[in-house]
């Protein structure tokens, strides 16, 4: 039973091989050549793409370098402008001007404190002068009896001899003269003092009025100055906000530039990938060449198709990936450049807004004027203090003069009273003269007492005035020093504001220039960018070509696999075929030769269906895969669209055999063929 079964099997497979291999289309080397040409074209197209991109990216890189440099400069300008406008610097113009204003205010407030002292001192002066005046009146009252005494001296001396009369008459005359002289002098002094009092009152009134006016003036000036400084400060703060926005916009621009640069990195990666793809294409082309030169049904062709199918599938994925990356890069670059352009326009508008905010307001000039006015306003109170000192100093001298005169008078009266007492003691029965002399002493004592009181009052007043004068002199010195310092600072502040006024437009102009150059570069970049179009054009061409090639090669490979299945089955038959089978087969062949020759194909098929389960179990051969082993029809061959359809046994999925060497399966088939020839 075994021999006919094997025989049937061999016959059946040979019939299949005959139907499969022998009915294949004739070898079509032009199809291989066609694919090779397309591969070359595809490679060239990719190389051209990468070459164009390289040139364009170099240009783009140069532009980006310029833009990045500009963006850095713009950032710096924005930072400088922000510092300038927001007053971040410790000696920023506006802050400095504000501080100057406050220092000047301190000086004015301190001057006001001095005025308070002056007013208090002057009030004390007037009070003291009133007291001194009262004392003067009392002193005059004290002196009045002296004229009566001198008359009495003359009367009383008339009772004595001529010498005594002469002495007392002379004494009386001297006393009268002295009183008259001193009284005249004192009256003059006190009148002068009274006039001084009136004058100081007037000075005080004038000063009060002046201080009030000055305060009003200072308030107005400083109010205006504060307003101007605040306006400037607010203008700067608002422009500072704009500049901060500008800086933010520039940061966005830098971000966009970064994105574009990042996107540019794809070019390097892509170039490497395309180089690899090109190499793979070369290998595929070589395989196709081998296949073209090999014989139909040979292993090398199957191998080449398998290789092309596998490599084609891999490279198809690679190319798709490359184009996806390139498309993304192109998108990122175009978006980045558009972002740069849009933001640079926004930034330029912001720069103009900064200029408008600060410069158009003209507040800087107003602030400069305010600083000058502040300086003038602080000089006046300090000069007033000097005026007060000038008024006080002679007043004190006059008061001292009065005290001296009154003291002189008292001492003279005392001197005359002593003389009178001496003379009276020398005159016999001169008790009346002695009484008068004693009376003169009492008057002089009272006068001395009054003078001492007045002198004390004057001294107190003098001390007060001196204290006030010292205080005012000290303050005047301090105030003058402060005025000088403030004058220096005011000049400094003025210069700072001036420099600010000059620097601001300079910064803005530079910023505008940079932005303009920036926009120009960005616009140029946008207009020059061509590679997205090139990519869009190259993409379908390369991808489609590889897809077609892969599909074709896969179909080839699949058919090769079918042939390989058949080959395996023949191999199985060979393995199960023994010498006994040969003998049995030979015997059977002899006896059934005629019958065997008349077997129809349909019958063989039926036999095969029935015989298949009867395969010898000891062969341990795998049962053919029903999916790939579609016996009963030949659809694969019928629908083959490929240029050179071949069914060849495949040795290795990717391996390539050396030229002229036959794959082992093919060799086995040939062995089997030898055996078949035996039949």
């Amino acid at each position: 039973m075994a021999a006919p079964v094997f025989f049937d099997l061999i016959c059946r497979h040979l019939a299949r091989l005959d139907n499969g291999w022998l009915r294949l289309p004739p070898k079509e080397p032009c199809r291989f050549v066609g694919w090779m040409q397309r591969l070359d074209q595809g490679k060239e197209s990719l190389q051209l793409l990468i070459g164009n991109m390289e040139t364009e990216f170099l240009e783009l890189g140069r532009s980006l370098q310029i833009m990045a440099g500009n963006a850095t400069k713009i950032q710096k300008e924005c930072a400088a402008l922000t510092d300038l406008t927001e007053g971040r610097e410790e000696d920023a113009a506006v802050q400095f001007a504000f501080q100057l204003l406050k220092k000047a205010e301190d000086l004015i407030l301190a001057t006001d404190e001095q005025y308070d002292h002056v007013f208090a001192g002057f009030n004390q002066l007037h009070e003291s002068l009133r007291v001194i005046s009262r004392r003067y009146d009392q002193m005059i009252q004290t002196l009045l009896p002296l004229s009566f005494i001198t008359t009495q001296l003359r009367i009383q001396s008339s009772h004595h001899d001529a010498d005594v009369q002469a002495v007392f008459s002379t004494l009386a005359d001297e006393i009268s003269l002295l009183v008259t002289q001193v009284r005249t002098a004192l009256e003059g002094q006190f009148e002068d003092l009274a006039a001084t009092q009136t004058r100081t009152r007037k000075v005080l009134n004038d000063l009060t009025e002046s201080v009030a006016q000055q305060k009003k003036c200072v308030e107005i000036t400083w109010g205006a100055s504060r307003t101007h400084l605040r306006q400037l400060s607010e203008a700067l703060a608002s422009s500072g906000t704009i500049v901060a926005d500008l800086a933010s916009v520039n940061r966005t621009i830098t971000g966009h530039i970064g994105n574009v640069i990042m996107a540019q990195q794809y070019q390097d990666i892509t170039r490497q990938k395309i180089e690899h793809i090109g190499e793979a294409m070369d290998q595929m082309s070589m395989q196709l060449e081998t296949a073209r030169d090999g014989q139909a049904g040979s292993g090398c062709r199957a191998e080449a198709c398998h290789f092309v199918a596998k490599a084609g599938a891999i490279q198809l994925k690679q190319v798709e990936g490359v184009f996806a990356e390139l498309n993304k890069a192109a998108h990122d670059i175009v978006e980045g450049i558009s972002g740069i352009l849009k933001n640079s326009e926004t930034a330029a508008q912001s720069a103009i807004a900064v200029g408008d905010t600060v410069l158009s307001a003209g507040v800087v000039q107003q602030c400069k004027d305010s600083v000058s006015r502040i300086l003038i306003s602080i000089r006046v109170p300090v000069e007033n203090i000097s005026g007060i000192i000038e008024t006080i100093a002679p007043l004190q001298s006059k008061l001292n003069n009065c005290t001296t005169k009154a003291g002189d008078l008292a001492l003279s009266v005392r001197f005359f009273s002593l003389n009178a007492q001496i003379f009276a003691a020398a005159v016999p029965s001169g008790w009346a003269l002695d009484v008068l002399a004693h009376r003169m002493q009492v008057i002089s004592d009272e006068m001395i007492l009054e003078v001492r009181r007045m002198s004390d009052d004057i001294d107190n007043l003098g001390a007060t005035l001196m204290n006030l004068e010292d205080r005012l002199v000290d303050f005047q010195e301090l105030g003058q020093h402060e005025v000088n310092l403030l004058a220096t600072e005011s000049t400094f502040s003025h210069n700072k504001l001036g420099s600010f006024e000059n620097l601001l437009p300079e910064h803005i102009e530079r910023l505008k220039g940079l932005q303009s150059s920036f926009s120009e570069t960005a616009s140029g970049m946008v207009s020059r960018v061509q590679f997205p179009k090139i990519i869009a054009k190259a993409s379908p061409h390369s991808v489609d070509m590889l897809r077609d090639l892969t599909e074709w090669a896969e179909a080839q490979d699949k058919q090769g696999m079918v042939a390989s299945g058949l080959s395996s089955q023949v191999d199985l038959l060979k393995q199960g075929y023994t010498m006994q089978s040969e003998r049995d087969l030979h015997d059977a062949a002899l006896s059934q030769a005629t019958e065997a020759q008349t077997i129809k194909e349909d019958d063989i098929f039926e036999l095969f269906e029935a015989a298949t389960p009867a395969l010898p179990a000891e062969t341990n051969s795998p049962r053919p895969d029903p999916a790939t082993d579609s016996f009963g029809d030949f659809e694969l061959f019928d629908v083959d669209p490929s240029p050179g359809l071949l069914i060849v046994p495949v040795v290795d999925a990717v391996g390539v055999l050396p030229a002229g060497e036959m794959p082992p399966d093919v060799k086995k088939q040939e062995d089997l063929g030898d055996n078949v020839e035996l039949f």
Partner: protein, 138 residues
């Protein structure tokens, strides 16, 4: 981190009660700083900072204060330390006032002085007073 002060010498101590004291304090502070060797622009900064803080004492503390000027020396540099303290009203959260630099408060006392000096510390207790310590390094 601030370098430790190796030596300190008190230069002058002044009362701070009236506006004239403000002028005097900034005048003396300027003079003492000039003796240490600070340049003119820095003298202006120092005197401005003194002015800002002493003015606060006169106008807001409600009690007299005191300004103490000292020479401070570290291993590497010299400086002037200015301590201005009062026993007046004090302020709540004094640190909060240091960074208030809006447009309306331009040139305001504490933030301004804070900016002008190298080191600035403020301690204050409501009802007990305030102590401001400032250092400018040469």
């Amino acid at each position: 981190m601030n370098e430790p002060i190796s030596s300190e010498r008190e230069l002058v101590r002044l009362p701070v009660a009236k506006m004239q004291d403000v002028l005097l304090a900034r005048f003396i502070g300027r003079e003492e700083a000039a003796k240490i060797g600070f340049p003119v622009l820095v003298l202006t900064r120092i005197s401005t900072a003194i002015s800002e803080i002493t003015r606060n004492v006169v106008q807001h503390a409600g009690q007299p204060g005191e300004a103490i000027f000292s020479l401070v020396i570290t291993s590497e540099k010299n400086g002037i330390r200015i301590v201005i303290e009062d026993v007046g009203k004090g302020v709540e959260e004094p640190e909060r006032h240091l960074n208030n630099s809006s447009a309306k408060s331009m040139g305001a006392g504490l933030p301004s002085a804070h900016k002008l000096m190298d080191e600035f510390h403020i301690q204050s207790v409501v009802g007990q007073g305030t102590k401001v310590t400032m250092i400018k390094w040469l």
